[in-house]
C-alpha cells in the first residue's frame, strides 16, 4: 500500500477529551463481551447443583436423573421449531419473492411494511390468540386428519379435544418467525444483480425461469442464514408455546393428540414461579442447554452470512 513518496504517518495530538471518549468507547465495547461471558458464567455456576445434588432430593425431576429430564425437553424444543420451519420457510420464500419480484413496484414497500407488522406483535399476544382463537378453530381439522390419515404416525391421534397440540404451537411459532425470514430473504433477493435478471429475460426465460436461474442461486447463502436465524428464534420462543401447548413432557411424533412434548423455554416459564431451592438450578441448567443450542445455531448462521460477503460482490 505504501507508495513511493507517501509522507510518514503523523500521530494525532492526544487531548484529554480524546482519551476519555476513546476509553469509554472501548469500555462499552468490552462491556458487551463481558456481559456475554457473565451470562455464560452465571448460568454455569447456578446450574451446578442440578447435577451434583442427588436426584431424589430434587422434586422437580420426579425420580429421573437430570439427563432423563432434559432429553424430552430438548426433543420437544427441536421438534416444535422444526414444525415451525417446515411451515414457515416455503411461505416466507413466497412472500419475499412476491414483494421483490411479483408485486407492483408501488405496492411493494407497503406490503413489506404489512408483513413487518407481524414482527411487531408481542409474543404474549400471539400466545393469547393461539390459545383462544386458533386452537378451537383448528380442532375440527385434527379430527378430520385422524379419521382419514391416522395410518401416518404423525396423525396417529386420538385427536385432542381442545386443539392445544404441538402442531398448533408449531403454527403459532411459524407465524412468529415468518416476518424474520421474509425480511432477510427480501433483502437478499433485491440484491440480485439486475444485469443477471435482464440477461435471463433477454434469452427468453419466463419470470419463474429467471428467478430459478438468477435470483435463487444468488440468494442461496442468504436464504440458509435466514432460515437458521428463524430456527434460532423458534427454539428460544417461550410464551407462545407455554400458552398454546398442553404439554406432558414425553417424546412422541404424534402431532394431533393431547399428549405432547414440552419445550425447554415453555417448561421454564411454567415451572419457575413454583420452583424452590435446588429445583431452580435444574431449570437454570435446562436454560443453559437452550442457550448452548441457540448459540450454535446462530453462530452457524453468522458464519454463512459472513462467508457470503467475501465472494458475492453484492456489498
Amino acid at each position: 500500500m505504501t507508495a513511493l513518496g507517501t509522507p510518514p504517518r503523523i500521530a494525532a495530538k492526544q487531548r484529554p477529551g480524546d482519551r476519555v471518549f476513546a476509553g469509554s468507547a472501548v469500555l462499552a465495547g468490552s462491556l458487551i463481551l463481558a456481559t456475554l461471558a457473565l451470562v455464560a458464567a452465571f448460568l454455569v455456576i447456578q446450574s451446578v447443583p442440578a447435577v451434583t445434588v442427588p436426584a431424589d432430593q430434587l422434586s422437580i425431576l420426579g425420580g429421573d436423573t437430570f439427563l432423563e429430564y432434559v432429553v424430552p425437553l430438548v426433543f420437544g424444543t427441536v421438534w416444535a421449531a422444526l414444525i415451525a420451519l417446515v411451515l414457515a420457510v416455503p411461505v416466507s420464500l413466497g412472500i419475499a419473492l412476491f414483494i421483490s419480484h411479483y408485486a407492483p413496484r408501488r405496492l411493494a414497500e407497503g406490503l413489506g411494511y404489512v408483513i413487518d407488522l407481524l414482527a411487531a406483535v408481542p409474543s404474549v399476544v400471539f400466545g393469547l390468540w393461539g390459545g383462544n382463537v386458533l386452537a378451537p378453530a383448528i380442532q375440527p381439522v385434527y379430527t378430520w386428519l385422524w379419521e382419514n390419515l391416522s395410518f401416518i404416525p404423525l396423525f396417529a391421534g386420538p385427536p385432542s379435544g381442545t386443539g392445544r397440540t404441538v402442531l398448533t404451537a408449531g403454527i403459532v411459532l411459524a407465524v412468529m418467525i415468518l416476518p424474520i425470514i421474509t425480511a432477510l430473504c427480501r433483502e437478499v433477493f433485491l440484491q440480485t444483480p439486475v444485469l443477471h435478471e435482464e440477461a435471463a429475460l433477454a434469452l427468453g426465460a419466463t419470470r419463474w425461469e429467471m428467478i430459478r436461474m438468477t435470483v435463487l442461486p444468488f440468494g442461496r447463502p442468504g436464504i440458509i442464514s435466514a432460515v437458521m436465524l428463524g430456527l434460532g428464534r423458534a427454539l428460544g420462543e417461550t410464551m407462545a408455546v407455554a400458552m398454546v401447548l398442553s404439554a406432558t413432557g414425553v417424546i412422541t411424533v404424534n402431532l394431533i393428540s393431547s399428549i405432547n412434548p414440552s419445550t425447554i423455554a415453555a417448561n421454564i416459564a411454567l415451572s419457575f414461579p413454583e420452583a424452590y431451592g435446588d429445583n431452580v438450578s435444574v431449570l437454570i441448567a435446562t436454560g443453559l442447554v437452550l442457550f448452548a443450542i441457540t448459540l450454535v445455531v446462530n453462530a452457524i448462521a453468522r458464519v454463512v452470512v459472513n462467508r457470503r460477503k467475501d465472494f458475492s460482490g453484492a456489498n
Binding site: G17, G29, V91, P122, V124, L128, G287, T294
Partner: protein, 361 residues
C-alpha cells in the same frame, strides 16, 4: 429443443399468438370463486353442511383456480408458461396466507379487548380484586419503569459500543465485538431472564425478584439491537464530513459529537425506538426476573413488579372464579400492549422521515 420448435410454430404472428389475454387470470379467478360459492350455496340448501362457509368457499375457489389456469395455460401457451403461471399463483397465495393470521389476530384483539378498555382499566390495580373490575395500572407503571431503566442502561452502552466499532475499532477486538453482538441478538429472551435472576440471587439471596432484575434482563436483550442499528446509521455518514472536520483541526471526539452524531441522529433515534418496541413486549424474562404481583409498586429495588405482558399472561393462565373477567382483562391488556408497540413503531418511522439526514447537494 422444444423452445426452438415453439418459436418456429409461432412465426406466423409471433407477438400475439400463443399468449393468454392479460385479463384472462382475473376472469378465471372470478369464475372459479363464483362456481365454488354456488357449490357451497347448493350444499347449504341441501343441508349436508350447516351454513355458508366463507373460508371453505375461498379455499376451494383458489384450488380450482390454480388447476384451471395451469390447464388452460398448458393448452394455449405450452409447458413453460404454465409452470410460470403456477408459480405466480403459489407466490401470491403465500402472501395471502400470511395476511390471514394478521387480520384474524388484529380483529380478535380489538373485538375482545374493547369491552374492558375503559377508564377503570387504566386507573385501578388488581389489589384485592377477585372477580370483575380492577385494572392494569400497576402493570403499566411497572412496564414503563422497567423498560425505561433498561433503556437508560442500554442506550449509552449500545451507542458508545457502536461508535467504537465505526470510529475506533480495528483488529481483533472489533471483530470479536461484531461477532458476539450478532450472537447476542440470538439469546433466547428467557435465558436473559434466568441470567438476571441468577445475578440477583447471588447478590441478595435466592428467590429474590425485583424490578431492577427485570430491567437488567431487558437491557441484555436491548443492547445488541441498539448496537446493530446505530452502527448501521453511523456507517452511513459520509467520510467527506469527517475529513472536512479533521481538516479544520477539530479533535476526533469533538468531530464525533458535533459532526457524526448530529448527522445520524434521526436514524439512531429510530433504531432506539424500535429496540424499545421490541423489549416492551417481552414476557418471559420479566416473569422470571421480576415476578408478578397484584399491587402497585414504584420501587425498582424492592419487591416484585408487574408488567403489562406478564399481566396478560397471568390473567390468562390463572383464571380466577370469574374466568371471563380475567380473560377480558387479558385481552384489554393485549390491546394496550399492541397499541403501545404500534405507537412506538409509528413515531420511529415519523422521526426517520422528519429528521432524515440532510445530505442533499
Amino acid at each position: 429443443m422444444t423452445a426452438t420448435t415453439a418459436i418456429r410454430t409461432d412465426e406466423s404472428n409471433s407477438f400475439a399468438s400463443g399468449r393468454l389475454p392479460r385479463a384472462a387470470p382475473w376472469w378465471v379467478l372470478a369464475a372459479c370463486l363464483a362456481a365454488s360459492a354456488a357449490v357451497f350455496a347448493l350444499l347449504g340448501a341441501g343441508a349436508p353442511i350447516a351454513e355458508f362457509n366463507i373460508v371453505g368457499t375461498v379455499f376451494i375457489g383458489m384450488v380450482a383456480y390454480t388447476i384451471v389456469i395451469v390447464a388452460i395455460a398448458r393448452l394455449v401457451e405450452g409447458q413453460r408458461r404454465a409452470t410460470d403461471r403456477f408459480v405466480t399463483t403459489l407466490v401470491t397465495l403465500a402472501f395471502v396466507i400470511a395476511l390471514l393470521p394478521l387480520i384474524s389476530l388484529v380483529f380478535t384483539v380489538i373485538t375482545n379487548g374493547l369491552p374492558r378498555f375503559d377508564l377503570e382499566f387504566f386507573t385501578y390495580s388488581m389489589r384485592s380484586i377477585v372477580g370483575e373490575g380492577g385494572g392494569a395500572i400497576h402493570a403499566i407503571v411497572g412496564t414503563l419503569l422497567m423498560t425505561g431503566t433498561a433503556a437508560v442502561i442500554s442506550i449509552p452502552i449500545g451507542l458508545m459500543a457502536s461508535i467504537y466499532l465505526v470510529e475506533y475499532g480495528r483488529g481483533r477486538l472489533a471483530r470479536a465485538i461484531t461477532f458476539f453482538v450478532d450472537v447476542m441478538t440470538g439469546i433466547p429472551s428467557i435465558v436473559a431472564g434466568l441470567f438476571a435472576y441468577a445475578v440477583f440471587s447471588a447478590l441478595l439471596g435466592p428467590g429474590e425478584r425485583l424490578g431492577l432484575a427485570g430491567a437488567m434482563a431487558l437491557a441484555v436483550l436491548m443492547i445488541p439491537v441498539v448496537v446493530r442499528s446505530s452502527e448501521e446509521m453511523l456507517r452511513l455518514v459520509p467520510n467527506e464530513l469527517r475529513e472536512a472536520a479533521f481538516a479544520l483541526g477539530v479533535p476526533k471526539w469533538l468531530m464525533i459529537v458535533k459532526v457524526v452524531l448530529p448527522t445520524s441522529i434521526a436514524g439512531i433515534t429510530t433504531g432506539i425506538m424500535l429496540s424499545i418496541a421490541r423489549v416492551i413486549g417481552e414476557t418471559a424474562p420479566l416473569l422470571i426476573a421480576a415476578g408478578f404481583t397484584n399491587n402497585l409498586n414504584y420501587d425498582l429495588t424492592e419487591g416484585r413488579m408487574q408488567s403489562l405482558p406478564v399481566f396478560v399472561y397471568t390473567s390468562y393462565v390463572a383464571q380466577g372464579t370469574d374466568a371471563q373477567a380475567y380473560l377480558d382483562r387479558a385481552w384489554a391488556g393485549a390491546l394496550t400492549l399492541i397499541l403501545i408497540v404500534m405507537l412506538l413503531n409509528l413515531i420511529a418511522r415519523l422521526v426517520a422521515r422528519q429528521f432524515a439526514p440532510k445530505l442533499g447537494r
